[in-house]
Symmetry: C2
Subunit: 285 residues, 2 copies
């Protein structure tokens, strides 16, 4: 398998995630290069042994030496980048990404891509509430899930290599989902939860409440510190799915609200018991 042999990895976009990929791969003994916008990120990554070398320029001679190219860019920048620069890839190269929405990304890239390279979408479900290569930290993968989202255009070999990549990066679980199933799942588990956290945090000035706060409010708003540029882009790319998850949540919330207004204690308890059973099942895994 290509990825176990002496392959060279190129990271495009050296932020928190790109930098963490670079760190994990370099520590495994691979040669890792990088392309990113700022020279200071390259300098930092070379000095801290995250990458062997890097450049801020789009240079065919540089890019064409890499067997695997990992894109850690914002969704629209990613598609633009591939549209403009795909002539630079080595023939036979494997391309993959880290984008949090798959449907609108994967099919688009596969549509426009050269026939002699292959793109397999992937979503490393890991992160931190800080940004930039300076915060790169491969340990964020340790308890995290890595999801590969292949389509009919992908070969078995490329899908396997992409899963292998997740394994060597140190992810706990490697899963495979269609881009559509991925976006539905992420709309519920990740995007909806961020919408809830953000909404709760914007309800009122709550700084003065901090002396009275138990863990509940802290837990529910931890993810309310959010990269507005990236998340607004991701939300809009998954708009229909996210709206339907938000509506589902509003229905359930409204139903609990009405049971309280009507002092329908049996209904309230029934909802709480369902919630308790579901969360308990969830805990066991």
């Amino acid at each position: 398998m290509k990825i176990i042999n002496d392959v060279k990895f190129l990271i495009v976009g050296l932020g928190l995630i790109g930098g963490s990929y670079a760190q994990a791969l370099t520590d495994l003994g691979y040669e890792v290069g990088a392309i990113t916008r700022s020279q200071s990120s390259i300098d930092y990554a070379v000095e801290n042994k995250l990458i062997a070398h890097g450049t801020t320029k789009i240079d065919k001679d540089y890019i064409s030496q890499f067997d695997v190219v990992i894109f850690a860019l914002y969704p629209k920048v990613l598609i633009d980048w591939i549209e403009k620069n795909q002539s630079c890839f080595k023939s036979g190269a494997l391309l993959t990404d880290v984008t949090g929405v798959k449907g609108p990304i994967v099919y688009k890239i596969q549509d426009i891509l050269r026939d002699d390279v292959e793109f397999v979408g992937a979503h490393p479900m890991a992160g931190k509430e800080v940004y930039g290569v300076q915060n790169a930290d491969k340990s964020i993968f340790r308890n995290a899930n890595y999801i590969v989202t292949p389509t009919e255009k992908n070969t078995k070999e490329a899908i396997e290599e992409c899963k292998q990549l997740g394994k060597i990066l140190g992810f706990k679980t490697i899963a495979e989902l269609s881009p559509e199933k991925h976006d539905e799942m992420i709309g519920f588990l990740s995007q909806l939860t961020h919408c809830i956290a953000v909404s709760l945090m914007t309800c009122k000035e709550s700084e003065h409440l901090v002396d009275y706060t138990g863990d509940s409010f802290r837990d529910l708003t931890r993810i309310a510190k959010i990269n507005d540029e990236m998340w607004s882009e991701l939300f809009l790319l998954n708009k229909d799915e996210l709206l339907s998850q938000m509506d589902l949540f509003m229905d359930k919330f409204k139903s609990l609200r009405d049971s309280i207004e009507n002092e329908d204690k049996e209904k309230m308890k029934e909802i709480m018991r369902l919630s308790t059973v579901r969360r308990s099942l969830f805990d066991k895994k």
Copy 2:
């Protein structure tokens, strides 16, 4: 101050919280007694040195030996207990509680109470997702807040003693709020968050999603395992306040939802930036 001297404490209701109070006070060298419904809880607590002695009976000779009585009962049971048994208290005794809603409890008790004993409401904002004296654990107070909710009927001395109790129990912060302010705050920080967690957990069968779950969903649903009997009682006791907090949240959630539907990226980003700033301020404390 009474509480520093050789006082005897009575815990009424030996569950998780009552048991944890007992443990903390016994470990400090106080003599702690208990009244609770089940003999097995008394036996467990005596064997494990949480209390010196206890009984399942309402006995004036027993109760009248105690200087401080701490009620760790469900709200309605608490009021009934005091109505029925207040003749048993030692004259001059200080009474306090642990109830999560204050307005409907504190004023009611103070209205019906004998003149020669004093009740000061308190809310230890600590807990665990397990129940019973077997899970008693005084360390749950360590990073938690203890809120005293005095009224005009309370004396300075009794309020101070109640705060002192919070301190010796090991709470991080001792605060004072009117019962009304307490219920408003708790409606937002605790009850609303539980309503959100419960609603999210009941949205769909999510057990099969566990392989794809990052921390977000886990964080937002941790408190969705909930004691339906106690919380439905607390929600209804704070009904108006909770409904107004739920409506506030729904407004904010709806506004984010509509900005997504309208693809109003500027509005979305504005909401996310506000959320980020507020959560950051919150983190510093």
